[in-house]
Symmetry: C2
Subunit: 410 residues, 2 copies
């Protein structure tokens, strides 16, 4: 194949300019879905797509596509990209490297005057983070037929604004139907959001799939009595039971499968006063593994622990599994293509499974899919201090370019 080279300076200049949109003092960005800052980020991407000669289309969910035609203009395109919405006070790299890296791929092809067989499309998905409108990955979810458009439009933020109204307000409710169409394959480059690559001092990983997970809500209900005159052996303390279950989550992850992770992330205590025994605690549990049987076993064990903790403390309890997603292996041919691309670029690498969900999960349901990870320094993500060495972003983009070219030649 003709040599095609990434323009590191152009790519970096764009990334820095993009990082100014919704920039926070601590070095992150605040561009939650459909905010004014998200609109400005969208406007910038659309402008840059057009400057690069891409045909821009906005669909009914506000997903932004930039198309570069191929020798066979009617063939199913190779799609690649990620998202540009952020967490509240999130990091600069999450999502953005996949979209601006995708743009750099097509510009590098332009520089080398290379036209691929298949058309290419760079995409920026709407509402990946799910911090303002739940659920997350809403744009790719509708695109892949997982959610109805009406359901998506009706999602409300905490102020009661709907996704549909806010999409209209920022001018990104497009005409193109948001529905599954013929995609040759999908690639997504993303920051790892975990510590493996940095720990192994590797610049890039081929991603083989995504962890399955279970989300659970638990409510313990005891009795709020005065913390002074109530002897320990007559208490019905909802927080003591919560602490017991939290210890159990930690113990289960240590004894049930090697990749299992478990988190008690959200905890609300009532009445939450220094001198009153907690009457009610609502909390969440998150278990994840690449092995569905391991998640099953963990959920089954924690239910027994919850029942036992409630019985010990004399509590009533409610348990609900509010979400369950099976482990999701990516397409073997796409994984192999990423590995081949890495070897062509000539860098060391590893194979990883993603603990976090991505738009790629939904794309994997309708088209062959894989991902490329670049390192997250200290494993940090969803924070302003999120950081990836620029040379690793460039390496990841070179891999993306190689993978896209290989698939676009098919």
């Amino acid at each position: 194949m003709v040599d095609v080279a990434i323009d590191e300076q152009r790519f970096r200049r764009r990334f820095d300019e993009f990082s100014d949109i919704g920039a926070t003092e601590a070095g992150g960005v605040n561009r939650p879905s459909l905010s004014d800052e998200n609109r400005e980020a969208r406007d910038t991407v659309v402008e840059w797509f057009r400057e690069a000669g891409l045909e821009v289309r906005i669909d009914e969910m506000g997903n932004v596509f930039g198309r570069r035609t191929g020798e066979r203009g009617d063939a199913a395109p190779v799609l690649f990209g990620s998202h540009i919405d952020s967490q509240y006070n999130g990091g600069r790299y999450d999502g953005v490297v996949g979209v601006l890296g995708g743009l750099e791929v097509v510009e590098a092809l332009d520089d080398a005057d290379v036209t691929t067989e298949r058309p290419l499309e760079v995409v920026a998905w709407s509402n990946e983070e799910g911090v303002r409108f739940q659920p997350d990955m809403l744009g790719s979810g509708v695109f892949c037929g997982r959610f109805d458009l009406d359901y998506a439009y009706e999602r409300e933020d905490k102020d009661g604004n709907t996704f549909g109204e806010e999409l209209e307000r920022i001018g990104y409710r497009g005409d193109e139907p948001c529905e599954p169409r013929d995609i040759h394959c999908y690639f997504e480059m993303h920051v790892e959001q975990g510590p493996f690559l940095e720990r192994e001092d590797l610049p890039v990983a081929a991603v083989e799939g995504v962890f399955g997970f279970s989300w659970m809500n638990v409510t313990f209900e005891g009795q709020a009595n005065h913390a002074g005159p109530t002897p320990m052996n007559t208490r019905r303390d909802a927080f003591v039971a919560t602490a017991d279950v939290t210890e159990s989550v930690r113990r289960i992850t240590a004894t049930e499968g090697t990749d299992l992770v478990g988190t008690v992330g959200s905890v609300d205590v009532w009445p939450n006063a220094i001198n009153v025994i907690p009457e009610t605690v609502e909390f969440t549990i998150d278990f994840r593994s690449y092995d569905d049987g391991t998640v099953d076993a963990a959920v089954e064990r924690i239910q027994r622990e919850i029942a036992h903790a409630a019985e010990r403390e004399g509590l009533d309890y409610e348990f609900e599994e509010i979400m369950r997603v099976d482990a999701d292996p990516f397409d073997q041919d796409c994984i192999d293509t990423v590995v081949d691309a890495i070897e062509a670029v000539g860098c060391e690498y590893t194979r990883l499974v993603s603990g976090a969900g991505h738009d790629a999960n939904y794309l994997n349901k309708i088209a062959p899919t894989s991902m490329i990870f670049v390192p997250s320094v200290d494993g940090v993500s969803h924070r302003e201090s999120e950081f990836t060495e620029w040379e690793d972003v460039v390496t990841g983009t070179e891999v993306l370019l190689e993978a896209v070219r290989r698939k676009a030649a098919e």
Copy 2:
């Protein structure tokens, strides 16, 4: 001594009428300090005091005194009473039985045409609960010289209203100086707020003193990472450490002294999201015992547990003991008077130490003091379901009458 008898019907009628003020649907009352409902309760007490021929005085803190003169009108009075402010959606008995019981004592003396040697004063202290304005026991605290008047006036509720403004608004900022004066002794009848009396099927207890306690604030600071891609062994989870410390609190109470109680009552988690490892947890610990050395030992042990939990999880932490109050034995002569009064009434009883603080704590600093407890069914307090059998309230009031007469004869 002349026979003096409580009028159960009158007492009960008053109690029921009083329970209508700020009544909640669930059978409790909502009369937080200086609310309109608290004003109505005060107006009612003042009216009934006057109808009973008491000379009513309101001091600068809104403490309400009703004075019945004695043969020796210039002798230091016997003071008795409690409070009429409530928790938000609290119970009908807490505080009220001591004030209306005190009123019944003087009316019973009137019925029997008995004049005591010393003057008697019934008191309703301001702001005992401390739910709207902190700290609690503010009225008796200023009266006993523990707090400055200005400090008390500057206390703010969560809407920024000050105690001074609200006291003025409801018309209870009186002229009488609120400061220590010559009190012969103080008695307070109160619900136990614990399970001992009910468990032993006893109507009344002589209270020998009040537990000492320590209040601590702890902050753990870790790292908020994504709950999926972050392996267990790289986590810095502030809530796991909080669970560890909560287990330690329970273990310390089980192994350090027989009366020690310990509570983690208030817990705030940040960012408090189902899929994010908790970065920061702020929580409180409350240890109480009648033995100051036991509280010392518990505080020392929990500090080591906090340091160890922080080290295990790789957290920073802050520890602050925000309040420390020593155990407070009541006056032996007043305790003996209560015991003699119980024996004169002729009922079974026990001796208890109070796990909760009361206005009697502050009075004990300036005058000989003791308390009388009546049972709390199921040990419940600070809730709408708080309940005491009426016959026990009557028995407690008979004991109060006896104790007051004995001391007023000195």
